[in-house]
Structures are given as C-alpha cells and as structure tokens.
C-alpha cells in the first residue's frame, strides 16, 4: 500500500470534522443511519480512486471498489457535529 491511497481518507475525515462543527440542530439516529448508508452506496457507485490497489484505498477487486473519502467525510461531519455542533 502506498501512503497516497489512505491520505485522502484521512484528509476527508479532518475536513468533515471542520465543517461538521458548523452543523446545528438535532440529527436523529434515523438520519445518521440514512446518511451513512447513502454514503456507502454513493462510495460504491463512484468507485475507487485511480491508482488505488489496496483495501485501505477502497479497492476490493477489478471493477469493484469504494470511494473511501465520501464515507470518511460523512463520518467526519457527524463527529464534528457531535464534538462542537450546536
């Protein structure tokens, strides 16, 4: 695995936390599950980023992979909301 395969995922979580702190209101469990589920489906549809060949980069097999930054961003947003969101 090359470091470049996992760096976008880490950055997406950091950016997600940053912008998640600006979310307000109550996010129910149902909404949380919905958002994470849609992210996983979206990540599958977008596919793995170019030149990622490891499971950490979202690569499963040829033609099948996940855009892990999409999932990471959603998780980051929810973490940011939980940390500082009003």
């Amino acid at each position: 695995m090359m470091l470049g395969e996992i760096t976008p995922f880490i950055i997406s979580i950091i950016l997600g936390i940053l912008f998640g702190t600006q979310l307000s209101g109550k996010i129910s469990k149902g909404t949380t599950v919905l958002v994470i589920s849609f992210s996983i489906v979206g990540a599958l549809l977008f596919g793995v980023f170019m030149f990622s060949y490891s499971i950490y980069g979202g690569y499963i097999m040829p033609g099948l992979g996940f855009a892990t930054p999409l999932i990471g961003a959603t998780i980051g947003l929810l973490i940011g909301k939980a940390l500082k969101g009003e």
Binding site: G4, T7, P8, L15, Q22, F38, P69, L77
Partner: protein, 283 residues
C-alpha cells in the same frame, strides 16, 4: 416518517417523482461506466512541461489557473457588493452611517410548505452534498482540479439547507467562519508557493514532485510522500506523487467556500454587526 403523510394526491405524486428520479439516476450512472476518463488530462502531461519550467506553474498559472483565480476575485467583488447593497453595518459608509441597515422579512421555517420528501430528506441531502464536496477535493491527488468545484458544491449545500429550513438552517456558516476559512484559503494558496521559491527560486515549484531534482530529499519527502501512489502502466510500474497540488486545491476550496458563502450569507441573512456579535444563521 409517518406513512399516513404519504396519503393523498400529493404523497402519490411525491413517491412517483422519487421513483422516476431514482430510476433516472441509476440509469445515468450505469451508462457512465466505461465512458469516463478520470485523472489528469493527457494534454497536460504532454504539453505542460514545454510551456513553463515546472508542471505546477503550468497547471496553476496557465489560462485555466488564471481563469480560476480571477473567478474567485470576481466572487469576492460580488461579496463586497452584496454587503454594500444589503447591509451597511460593517462597511461603515459615512453617508449612510445614521441610517438603519436594510432589512428583509425573516425567513420562516414552515414545514407545511415542504413536501414530505423535502421535509425528511432535506437535512440528509445537505449533509451528503457536504460529503460529496469534500470527496471531490480529496480526489485532486489524481487530477488537476477539484478546489473550485468543492467550494461550489459545499456552498450549494448551504443554500439548499437555507431554502429548506430558512433561519433554522442546520448548516450554520457564520460570518466569522466564512471570513476565516476564506482567509486561510487565500493565504494558504499563496504561501504554498514559498517552499518552492526558497529552495529552487521558482514560486510554487512543486517541491513534492520535484521533477527537476532541485530540493533536498527531506523536503521532497515531506511534501511528496503523503500523496505518493504506484502507477501500474503498460510501460511498467512507476511511483508518482502530485506533491503540493492537493494542498493547493484544498486551499482553493476554502477560498471559494468563503467567497461564495459570504454572498449567500449576505443575501439570505443580511449583513450587520449586532451589539453582542450575535449573527443570524451563524455564530
């Protein structure tokens, strides 16, 4: 969600519309398979190094880069004009200093005006748009752009949530946040050129990629290794890194979020300086 809300003509139309959208979206995505050529444009790779001493200069400061930079400048001018027109509190125009800032009727949260789909999927859609924007900018390690698009997508999420929820906007990009993130983006965009200038003499020389071998291995490693990828090509296996390009894209994304976000903020909530620095729709 209460299933009883789906009763009636309105609910039936909403469900049918959602089904049509789902089918259309899935069909479009399925047709995209094999027809998209992701990554860096071949033209850039073939011509870039012939145009300027280093690739990053060609990318960032060619017609496309200038286009982006000037677009951002235009947006900032728009933000200033919005603040001038909509609210005069911060701008402190002497002629109007004794007049009250222009006010608009408050945006009300009226759930009865929202369809069932918008009521329950508005917030998830806004959050997913934010996630999508972040995904776009993180993909810039294998492509030339992403920053401007990310900014536009994220501010679209802000606008979408504002349209749905009015003053109860769940995405509370306040003035301080937008100004701060715009400033960080603009400053970061500029300062990322400093390492290259100090070590090679070329502003924004890509110290991470270091195509001309001008910088120390340590600096090369610091900026290059985090984004290094292995490229399995017909000619063999190569190891390549975009260097500082992803960082520049993130800075550009911050810049655009700040610029466009300020315009939306000024138009939606007005621009004034409350006594206790309490912002509408923000901190």
């Amino acid at each position: 969600m209460d299933p009883s809300e789906l009763r009636g003509k309105r609910g039936i139309i909403a469900v049918i519309a959602l089904l049509i959208i789902c089918v259309g979206l899935m069909s479009s995505l399925e047709k995209l398979a094999g027809n998209v050529s992701p990554g860096i444009s071949r033209i850039y790779n073939i011509l870039a190094y012939l145009v300027a001493p280093n690739n990053i200069a060609t990318w960032v400061y060619d017609w496309r880069g200038f286009d982006t930079l000037i677009e951002t400048a235009v947006i900032y001018v728009g933000a200033v004009a919005s603040a001038l027109v909509i609210g005069r509190g911060v701008v402190q125009m002497k002629h109007y200093s004794e007049e009250a800032p222009a006010t608009s009727p408050p945006l009300e949260y009226r759930t009865e005006s929202l369809t069932v789909i918008l009521k329950y999927l508005g917030l998830p859609a806004a959050i997913l748009l934010l996630s999508y924007g972040i995904m776009v900018v993180t993909a810039s390690s294998t492509s030339g752009g992403g920053g401007f698009q990310c900014g536009v997508i994220m501010t679209s999420a802000y606008l979408l949530a504002a349209i749905f929820y009015g003053k109860d906007n769940p995405i509370k990009f306040g003035k301080r946040f937008l100004i701060g993130i715009g400033a960080v983006g603009l400053g970061g965009y500029t300062l990322l050129g400093l390492p290259g200038f100090l070590t090679s003499g070329y502003w924004q020389y890509n110290v991470g990629a270091d195509i001309w071998s001008l910088v120390s291995p340590t600096l090369h490693s610091i900026f290059g290794d985090p984004f290094r990828l292995s490229l399995y090509l017909q000619e063999g296996v190569f190891y390549s890194t975009p260097g500082i390009i992803p960082l520049i894209n993130i800075a550009e994304a911050f810049n655009v979020v700040g610029a466009i976000g300020l315009i939306y903020f000024a138009f939606l909530y007005g621009w004034s300086e409350p006594p206790e620095d309490q912002e509408k729709g923000g901190k």
